[in-house]
Amino acid sequence: MTNVLLVRDLKVEFRVAEGTIKAVDGVSFRVPDGKTVALVGESGSGKSVISQAIMSILPKPAYITSGEILFFDPEKPGVFYDIAKLKPDSKEMRNIRGGRISIIFQEPMTSLSPLHTIGDQISEALHLHHKKTKAEGVQVTVDMLRLVGFPKPDEAFHTYPFELSGGLRQRAMIAMAMICKPGLLIADEPTTALDVTIQAQILDLMQKLQKQLGMAILLITHDLGVVASMADEIVVMYHGKVMEQGTLEDIFKSPEHPYLKALMRAIPRFDMKPGERLTPIREIKRESDSKFLQQANPRPVATGEEKPILEVRKLTKKFTTRKSSLFGAKPAGEVLAVDNVSFFIKPGECLGLVGESGCGKTTLSKLILRALETTDGSVTYNDRGRDIDVLALSNDELFDYRNKVQFIFQDPFSSLNPRMTVFDIISEPLIIHNVGTSAEREETVKELMTLVGLDIRFLRRYPHSFSGGQRQRIGIARALALKPDLLICDEPVSALDVSIQAQILNLLKDLQAELGLTYLFISHNLAVVDYIADRIAVMCKGRLVETAPKAALFKNPVHPYTKRLLAAVPEPDPNHRLNFTNLVEEKASNPELWPAPFTADVHTKPVMMDIGGGHFVRVHENTDLEELRL
């Protein structure tokens, strides 16, 4: 088998003011023609630096100190280039870059210029490497857009990136990378920022194009699930070195290296035994004798018949979109972000709320916190026996309510004020709610830090000196400061690496047990929800479509949307590759196209039906139970 790319003993150093960092330290691997090689590792393992070295777009302080990057152009047999020796601005390198090797980045939001149409940006790559007239360029670009699955490629040519959804943007990015029919495609975490269902579509698209155009793919990712579905060969990296490499089967069947084994254990899987814990690569060390725990005053464990801690009934939120003209704005239409949502959470329980982005999960959580005004419906909070009508609360009562319900945010980078020290961040809720004297507050903050496993010496530092996982722990400590009973976690681990994700999930689980907390855990990743939640609610287009205890939902998903979500989660097991044929159709996320009795459109309004064992499904009224037992 011929190779497209051969990397030999590559070393890359970053020379910065603080000293020299060896980002890549003697890495060798190959990419065979027409195959997919996965480069796996946590963030900071040097995998992205390798991709930049191959493209010769290393940042300024980075230097290739030794080694070779040999690129064998499949179109010119016998010719090869050593990219490590070529000057980044040389003509040969410019021809290879974008023409023969192209790259897809992680962030579809930022990797396209917002000021140019996608047609302009895609055809630019074409014109740079091939002599084409303008009209031909447009034609080729439109064909490419059609190939990557734009529904209306002619119109798409003239759209701007911000008018497109994340999935479509990533498709545009792929079109840009493919337009010159490269010999090698580097995909740098191409689906990390996307929903599972969109991820499945993009992965499928990449595989199809690979078959059609016969190119090799270097897939860079930290998600072993994606790897299992995509790769032929795997290279595992850790701290700039290759830990292990081999074919897909070898690596997954008999992982040799302890790092790889640890990485495998850190991923939530569907086949985990009840009570089985994830094993993060680096466990958070926490002191168990925290004073905070002793004073915590946890809610007594629910005694079966206790009323739910939170009950949401027929909650509805309408947003009005506006159309502006020369004479001011007029309401143009209404968007039902949350449509008649009813659910409850029992004390001490963790309810997982699952759905794709844009389905209204976050809006729902904001309604519960009264960060947004509700259009219709009711929210009842059970404050240790006393019912509170959340939507009727006024100033002081609302202030007290927010004492009891706290929020953990998705993005650990933007949810902490970079100009406040960790101490200020964690003590802020205490100051706002006027809890204790300043000495007591200091004591509490210190206890919170040890509770989430952070060193109290870090208190004077600013957020930028912490890693993503540590920042998320600071966010958790802040949420716990007021000793809340209910925590709303909005995608708390989706921005984190797998190993860090395991840390945070374990921490949340432990805290829940120790402090008697109740969670509303919002996520798009069913495997994560499966690990932490007791009951799961599935949401689509503002409506709940299915709620059930965890076991029932995974064993017997009834609603087509749930089934699709489940099918879209890539499992770290080569024997359970994603079955793309079911996933790629848009049908499953369009309520109007769901088969009867699930169809929801202007004429039919399905209702939640109890099908036994706390399992509810949204179906047409008077649907026969037998009909659902398919």
């Binding site: 777009i57 870059r97 974008g98 990797s111 210029s113 790559a125 911000f162 840009m176």
Partner: protein, 331 residues
């Protein structure tokens, strides 16, 4: 726009009226102290009648704006009549006329100078951050910001005269004043403009360099620049097409503020260099309580500001599809 201008006109008028007395009563005092002169008194009485200075301020305002008929019928700002300057005893239009063109010339050249000088330097500083050149320009830029304009004006005038024989002050040689335009006159104006343009432009250039550098540095970090590089776009082309285009927005947004500056800016420098621009005229009018002159000039500036804002908004929408297409969508 029109309501904004109306409010501005009311504010302008009220502020001009605020100090006690008016130009005529000041004049009257002076005449009285000198011993009365019948003809002067008659003239003052005529003005008083003509401009309704003896009437209520509301009526004065209405006449000035042209909402209310005066002795000559409707004749106010709306009809294009800027009123009479008491100091010069001439219609405001005639007093301002020539100067308006020259002010525009000087300040417009200054803006061009700022853009032409600041742009390449800003881009150079950003792309070669922390190089010797960057530090050098930064130093010069700060000097430019910190030096008072009028001081620089005098220093430059001296050296320009001593070493290059460029004559001092004014905007043209004395012999061309009140002469019809000719090639020689134009050259003379050009010669005289070099010093004022540099003087007025330095601080603007310096701050523009700093801003462009900061904007561009932000943009250069962005992912789409890497994307462009990864496509194989040559360096300079990628730089111009993506990050520079992105960092243009603040400059276009600035046009609104620039327009009134073009007319009235640089008062002090104009005084020092005795340039025949509008700036000193406005200052003088305000000091003399020459109410129609001041009011009309201020209104003109306000109009320019509003128009400038409008122009920059339109340009922004043309240049930036995000503004064009997402404007009006509220959350």
């Amino acid at each position: 726009m029109i309501p904004t201008l109306l409010v501005i006109s009311i504010l302008t008028f009220v502020i001009i009226q605020l100090p006690p007395g008016d130009y005529l009563s000041n004049q009257l005092e002076e005449l009285r102290s000198q011993g009365e002169s019948a003809s002067a008194m008659a003239k003052i009485a005529f003005y008083r009648e003509q401009y309704a200075l003896d009437k209520s301020p509301i009526e004065q305002y209405a006449r000035w704006m042209g909402f209310w008929p005066g002795p000559d019928g409707f004749s106010g700002l709306i009809q294009g009549n800027w009123g009479q300057s008491f100091t010069y005893d001439l219609p405001v239009k005639e007093v301002v006329g020539d100067r308006l063109g020259l002010s525009f010339l000087i300040n417009f050249s200054t803006i061009l100078f700022i853009y032409i000088v600041a742009f390449p330097i800003g881009v150079y500083s950003a792309t070669r951050q922390y190089s010797i050149g960057d530090y050098g320009f930064t130093l010069i830029g700060y000097l430019g910001l910190a030096t008072p304009n009028f001081l620089l004006a005098m220093v430059l005038l001296y050296y320009a005269n001593v070493y290059f024989g460029v004559s001092i002050g004014g905007l043209m040689d004395d012999k061309y004043i009140n002469q019809p335009w000719s090639f020689d006159k134009a050259m003379s104006v050009f010669d005289h403009m070099i010093v004022p343009v540099i003087v007025i432009g330095t601080s603007g250039t310096a701050s523009m360099i700093r801003r462009l550098r900061a904007n561009l540095l932000d943009e250069l970090q962005k992912q789409y620049v890497t994307t462009a590089k990864a496509k194989g776009v040559p360096r300079l082309k990628a730089l111009i097409k993506y990050p520079i285009r992105m960092s243009l927005n603040p400059f276009i947004a600035d046009i609104g503020n620039l327009l009134p500056d073009v007319i009235s800016g640089s008062v002090i420098v104009s005084m020092v260099l005795s340039l025949p621009t509008v700036g000193p005229l406005l200052l003088e009018a305000l000091r003399n309580q020459d109410q129609y002159m001041a009011g009309s000039l201020l209104m003109f500036l306000a109009l320019l500001t509003v128009v400038g804002m409008f122009v920059s908004d339109v340009l922004l929408a043309v240049l930036d599809p995000r503004i064009r297409l997402t404007g009006g969508a509220t959350k």
